[in-house]
Assembly symmetry: C2
Amino acid sequence: MLAVKIAGVGCYLPARRVTNADLESAWSLEPGWIERVAGVYERRYATSETTVSMAAAASRAALAMAGIDVAAVEAIVGASTAPQQAIPCTAALVQRELMAPDGASACFDINATCLSFLFALQHASHLIAAGVYRTVLIFSSELGSRSLNPQEPESAVLFGDAAAAVVVTRAAQNEPSAVGPALFRTYSSGAELTTVAGGGTLHAPNDPTTTPEMNLFHMDGPGVFKRAVRVVTPF
Amino acid sequence: MLAVKIAGVGCYLPARRVTNADLESAWSLEPGWIERVAGVYERRYATSETTVSMAAAASRAALAMAGIDVAAVEAIVGASTAPQQAIPCTAALVQRELMAPDGASACFDINATCLSFLFALQHASHLIAAGVYRTVLIFSSELGSRSLNPQEPESAVLFGDAAAAVVVTRAAQNEPSAVGPALFRTYSSGAELTTVAGGGTLHAPNDPTTTPEMNLFHMDGPGVFKRAVRVVTPF
């Protein structure tokens, strides 16, 4: 166990609510289908928000809850599925958006798609326990609505936009807080089950062979479920 | 100091050599300009290689030098500037390309642009020292040639394609190897000096307002140099 704690949490939700009725109408789905199939009632879509602006709003809330000034943050970790732009990393842009002092923190992103936050928390906890950093800010900021594929409604109805952030610090000796051991395992035989084929070097944005569909989220939900059931039980 | 060592290193270079004369001819530059301005003689450009195939080739070489079977790798860390695709992370795709056993390793990417490898080495070292992993494979695989801007020859002549990888393990008590402390600081006031504006949520590939230029590398070299001189001296 590591003597580390989450000293504050914060989140940001865009104001724009998108109901199932909105999507069922826009995407010609049978009324009631989304709630029946996905169990989702509504989601938020960003309007003028960006990955960075949402991350900063969530981060400010987490810092306020922790009672920690942004100047005391020694590392800022982006733990989102998608960056704001290819260069620089999103964490560096959030440092600037938060008006954190230039050079006061190390900024980097960790990406393991949906598990990005959990890897980031593991890394931050170990780096704090080892004395590398005293205060680490981790954010996850997602603009999933930008890459939905209406032709694949079973995944497209699931995702919206939001951000969350935590402040991680060392726990005092008399505090019960601790971070326990984590175990991550990647089963890449399922790499094709959940993809955005574009957005990187293989189907780069300027490549004339890149189609718009390649830049959209694809998930074989039943395939993921079957794989997960088989893997999670022994795990 | 952490009792950790680099047990093997490997690299991969595409066969295709691109000389200064090639670029000076293609981009209408004065003969000799590149070597005079940049000090670069030639670079390699990938042909059929991908980010993942280059990463795997470098990784195989590093594992061979370390004398470690891929089945013993417990974490695979992607530490490149650009991913192969937006989802999943490049490390997961490299696990599959290496035919590493499904579920034997945790896969994630760390992104801090040019510093990705150094952050990854720091994290891997601390995680190994803490007993989380015994053997970590880190790769950096870059296809910079895919996002060069010939309109900005002073940066476009600098970059080519290649991959490198290292295997990091715990060092035995009698080994002199160790990883010392690292200090990273991000100066985000310079965030506009080196950018690829596209490739993320802000100027997404499918956004009709995204221009091809946004997906190309931009660097204000003199600006970076001036900033670096001011920052590095006190650092």
